[in-house]
């Protein structure tokens, strides 16, 4: 692991917070590819065979990170992307550019540690190209400060080439959201598959915006985009799921479940399906409302109180 001189303390602090929140001790391991960013500085980098990481910090505070994975590379241990902010206030702007070759197998684990801030704007823009017949998974978990002063914007654009599979999980369920805006826009070529899942737990006056777009441009491409939001207190949540069936035998499914608790919650969902080829097939499911009564009564008939039953159901949905 290359730790930038003078930033050892920040590196240690971020790793400690991560380990405390996840019980995962693998970040320091030399066999694990890792990118650790603190504020507007890349403080730790570790690469593995077949993977190349370059970073650049601009004077205006923008951090640019290029990740390239060679064709036919299999990375058996997840690649860790850890972004944190240890000052009380500020702005963190990150630009990731991924080029993933053909026949690659890799799993990314991203963690965003923003637990010590009062007011922060965290902006992360990512472009990812996945070559042919590759298998890529991306898990993004956020830990925010309980004061609600974090504003996270994460914009991802992707192109998935022929025969490849991509799955993404975005979770912000363990800590307060603050304000979050998640955008995922994915183009799928022939025989490509994508599986997107977002789960967010809104508390107090959190603001949640999710937009997931599947562009099924290749023949026989398929994708699922599923969002689950548990909105409590005065949470304001808006989810947009879009799917475009532009090629023969393209199949897309979008699903949004927003569970509300309390009378001051404001939630909405907007599905958009557009078919441009008569052999494409798109479906959607959406539900907005309180916890399903039959599920509640099923558990209450086993002795749980209504509160316990609701917690049990929500924990499952957000797990």
């Amino acid at each position: 692991m290359d730790i930038v001189k003078g930033y050892e303390k920040e590196f240690e602090e971020l790793v400690e917070i991560y380990e405390k929140n996840t019980n995962d001790k693998s970040l320091r391991s030399p066999g694990v590819a890792t990118i650790i960013v603190s504020g507007n500085k890349v403080v730790g980098l570790n690469s593995v065979k077949g993977m190349h990481i370059k970073s650049k910090e601009r004077a205006d505070g923008l951090v640019m990170i290029d990740v390239e994975i060679e064709d036919n590379t299999i990375i058996p241990i997840p690649v860790h992307l850890c972004t944190g902010f240890l000052k009380k206030r500020g702005e963190q702007i990150l630009k990731f550019n991924y080029i993933i070759g053909s026949n690659v197998k890799v799993k990314f684990k991203s963690h965003c540690i923003l637990t010590k801030v009062e007011k922060l704007h965290h902006y992360m823009e990512s472009d990812m190209y996945i070559g042919k017949n590759s298998f890529v998974t991306y898990e993004d978990e956020h830990f925010h400060d309980e004061g609600g002063g974090v504003f996270v914007e994460t914009i991802t654009r992707m192109k998935i080439d022929e025969g490849s599979f991509f799955s993404s999980k975005f979770y912000e369920t363990k800590t307060r959201v603050g304000r979050i805006n998640v955008v995922m826009d994915i183009e799928l070529l022939k025989d490509a598959k994508a599986d997107l899942e977002s789960k967010i737990y809104g508390r107090e006056d959190d603001i949640i915006d999710i937009k997931e777009v599947l562009r099924l441009n290749g023949e026989n491409s398929s994708g699922i985009a599923k969002s689950t939001v548990f909105a409590t207190d005065r949470t304001n949540a808006h989810v947009v799921n879009e799917a475009y069936g532009n090629a023969p035998y393209a199949r897309g499914h979008i699903e949004c479940n927003e569970i509300v608790k309390g009378n001051s919650v404001e939630v909405s969902t907007l599905p958009l399906l557009k078919v441009m080829n008569d052999k494409a097939e798109l479906t959607h499911e959406a539900s907005v409302g309180r916890i399903n009564q039959v599920q509640l009564e099923t558990l209450m008939a086993k002795g749980l109180t209504e509160e316990e039953a609701a917690e049990f159901i929500v924990n499952g949905l957000l797990s």
Partner: protein, 238 residues
């Protein structure tokens, strides 16, 4: 003993249950039999205390104590349990966690129970209780859940629905398991093969107990009479 005294239940202007009396004693197996739409499941829901199934008249007694006003949770804690005809699905909850239900429970006990309902533990413990389970698999998980609750009174609403014919023997085995545990089993069914294994039956017709007595006799009457009955069941619920 669980006792229903003069229970009536209405939905809007429609009286669905019209004054029924029933008694269930621990360690015995009972059957509530009747054609579709006569109010069999409604009786089960009234006993369990589901929110939309509060009786408009009459009382329910458990060991001499009036439980008519007890909530669903309180009735469950008193030892009443319901095997749902079509159990709900739960995203993100594994079979193991669903069966544990926040309780301390030995893994071996869960595994043994899954085996009892013909589910191989290694294949099912980590699966989710969601829509990826087939109707039959979900029903078997619910059976396992009921067994692990160790109820004093278990209402089994159409226990064989959604389950393959090969598993009918398993249902009978589970009923006998409950009986051995000392539970009162209340089986709601219209299947002769299930009803015949019960000790005492209540034949329901249009919201009333039409006949009750030893199961063989009631089932025989039901087969001969009710199958071809021109009587119109005007209850469209269930």
């Amino acid at each position: 003993m669980l006792e229903l005294r003069d229970i009536k239940y209405s939905k809007g202007d429609n009286e669905i249950i019209k004054g029924i009396n029933m008694k269930f004693e621990e360690g015995n197996v009972y059957c509530i039999i009747g054609n579709n739409g006569v109010g069999k499941s409604t009786i089960g829901y009234i006993i369990m205390g589901l929110s939309d199934y509060r009786p408009s008249q009459g009382n329910i007694f458990l060991d001499g104590k009036d439980i008519t006003e007890l909530s669903l949770t309180e009735r469950a804690k008193s030892g009443i349990s319901l095997l749902w005809q079509e159990p709900a699905r739960f995203d993100g909850i594994t079979v193991e966690n669903y069966l544990k239900l926040n309780r301390d429970m030995k893994k071996e006990e869960i595994e043994e129970t899954l085996k009892l309902v013909n589910l191989e533990p290694s294949r099912y413990m980590r699966r989710y209780v969601d829509k990826k389970l087939s109707g039959g698999e979900r029903k078997k998980v619910e059976l396992a859940s009921c067994i692990l609750l160790k109820p004093k009174y278990v209402i089994m609403d159409e226990p064989d629905s959604g389950i393959d014919i090969m598993s009918l023997d398993m249902i009978v085995k589970v009923i006998n398991h409950f009986k051995k545990m000392g539970s009162a089993v209340i089986v709601i069914t219209h299947r002769k093969e299930i009803a015949i294994n019960c000790g005492y039956s209540y034949l329901i017709c249009a919201g009333k107990v039409f006949l009750d007595g030893e199961s063989k006799k009631i089932v025989s009457y039901y087969e001969k009479t009710c199958d071809n009955c021109g009587h119109v069941n005007y209850l469209e619920e269930e």
